[in-house]
Symmetry: C2
Subunit: 316 residues, 2 copies
């Protein structure tokens, strides 16, 4: 199973390192010759266009805005294509448009760093982290489930928690856990942006606003690519804050009751792995595991069986 | 100058340790005999009612809800009284009511921990942190400025940044930097509280929701004590989020422009100390230093002069 990673920045470089650490046959390509030199110097195999074309699995790790210019060149690729971008519906749509025959399975590793570039890449970046891996909204092609399991098997060897999902469910989730936090952090920073307040600010401000320091253009591109789901998430959040506003003027008890579900949920986070279950691979089973907050930890028996867990020991 | 600290939990215990480390003559009292034993075992002086009455400076470090029951017993105290509670207007009002003749100067150290109790106290908890120290809204008594400077001198020896402010300005600032983050963290947690989202959640969710795990009743008590200022802060934040909602549906450029002021402000945070300035102590000068984001670092020349700084080198 030959894997080729295209784009060797922070994420692509870390994917290359993590697959190499897991003993996989992996090579990488980057459009920038200086990056290719750095990758070769670090002891990894650098490949070319022909090498990528001969791979069994292609991991696209270039920024989302660059994907449309690359995709047409992949329309005849016979292997499995996956990617690592943070919003899945637009990529799935672009694949349908430019590469309708390609065996595409969208992916998204839930890990990152404040810094970018191959120099910041790290073989352990994804250890124990969730990696969303999408199934189509409807069964669109016969091989899809096999390809999903092939990728899940590779990713499990890398040590991640493979979360079965669909592009729409993924995009709704990241709107709430990743994109909305950026809007709240920015609004909080602007609400507190007054010299004396900034001098007095400590822990709760620091944590609540950390991601506000991100590049506004990158954040805007990410949020805009998921505008519809983010709009819904923001509306839900605004409705909650309106409720908090009313509770604040009502009574201390009312506000405490409003705060309690969040306190309970946050104390239970991050989800702790319960006992493992082994099951036959089916599309419905995988999607159900994802919906209940579970993940796949390994693939067995010639890829016919999965070992999966849910948080705690709450069997669905 | 004899200092007595009443209430030896996390904050009071840390105040006792920090004053002792700075070489001050300090003792402590706690209503709980087990706490007094632990404090004595740790090598600190434990005092009693008479010892507190004989102190020059009394630091009230008991929880805000317990203050009203203590204050009447202090009405004849001849020294300076300060406190460490997180909302200043209600304490100033209670002092006026129960101890109108007492030389009260409200204080609030901007530091804390997730854990409580003397066992968690730490002499370095306040190192380099801001400590708000209030002047009355109007000059209410002749000695106020002298008492403020006496306390500022002691606190500067402890290694904190003394921020001159008024109770109202302080309460407005903490509504924005401390109380609002709790409401946003709770709303964000509830908006994302769905099993798959919680399994996919990573850094931005983790930081943006950390304080949501706090005790809902303590947070509600804190927010309710500052309800008016928090209401205004929440309204400002809701207006910003409504603007973000419109920008999100407008254009990527519009959203990036909305995000930019927050990114600039957050990258400049925490404020870095500029060069120091020495000035004569006056009430107007102190309040001005606070308004422009500055702080007092030491008191000199028989308490006639202060050394102060503002963030960066931006002289007001």
């Amino acid at each position: 199973m030959r894997i080729a990673v295209i784009g060797l920045g922070l994420i692509g470089g870390s994917v290359l390192r993590a697959f190499a650490r897991a003993g996989c046959d992996v090579s990488g390509f980057d459009a920038d010759p200086r990056v290719r030199d750095a990758v070769a110097e670090a002891g990894f195999e650098v490949t070319d266009r022909d090498g990528c074309a001969a791979a069994d699995v292609l991991v696209l790790a270039i920024p989302a805005p660059h994907l449309p210019s690359l995709l047409p060149s992949l329309s005849d690729f016979p292997g499995i294509v996956t990617d690592v971008t943070s919003v899945k519906t637009p990529v799935a749509d672009a694949m349908k448009r430019y590469c309708p025959a390609v065996r595409y399975v969208g992916g998204h590793p839930m890990a990152g760093k404040e810094v970018s570039g191959f120099a910041a890449s790290d073989a352990s970046l994804f250890d124990g982290r969730a990696w969303a891996l999408c199934l189509g909204e409807e069964v669109s092609r016969a091989q899809e489930l096999d390809d999903w399991v092939t990728l899940a098997d590779l990713l499990c060897r890398m040590g991640v928690r493979v979360v079965p999902t669909t592009a729409a469910r993924h995009d709704d989730a990241v709107a709430r856990i990743s994109h909305l936090p950026h809007l709240l952090a920015a609004a909080l920073t602007r609400t507190a942006a007054e010299p004396q307040a900034l001098t007095l600010a400590a822990g709760s401000f620091s944590d609540g606003t950390r991601v506000a320091a991100s590049d506004p253009y990158l954040v805007s591109a990410m949020c805009s690519a998921n505008a519809e789901a983010l709009h819904d998430a923001l509306d839900d959040c605004l409705a909650m804050l309106d409720e908090a506003r009313r509770k604040l003027t009502a009574s201390r008890q009312d506000l405490a009751e409003w705060l309690t579900p969040a306190s309970t949920a946050r104390r239970a986070w991050p989800p702790r792995a319960g006992t493992s279950h082994t099951d036959a691979v089916t599309r419905d089973k995988l999607l159900h595991i994802g919906v209940v907050g579970g993940w796949v930890e390994s693939v067995h028996d010639g890829r016919a069986e999965i070992l999966w867990r849910v948080p705690g020991d709450s069997l669905p």
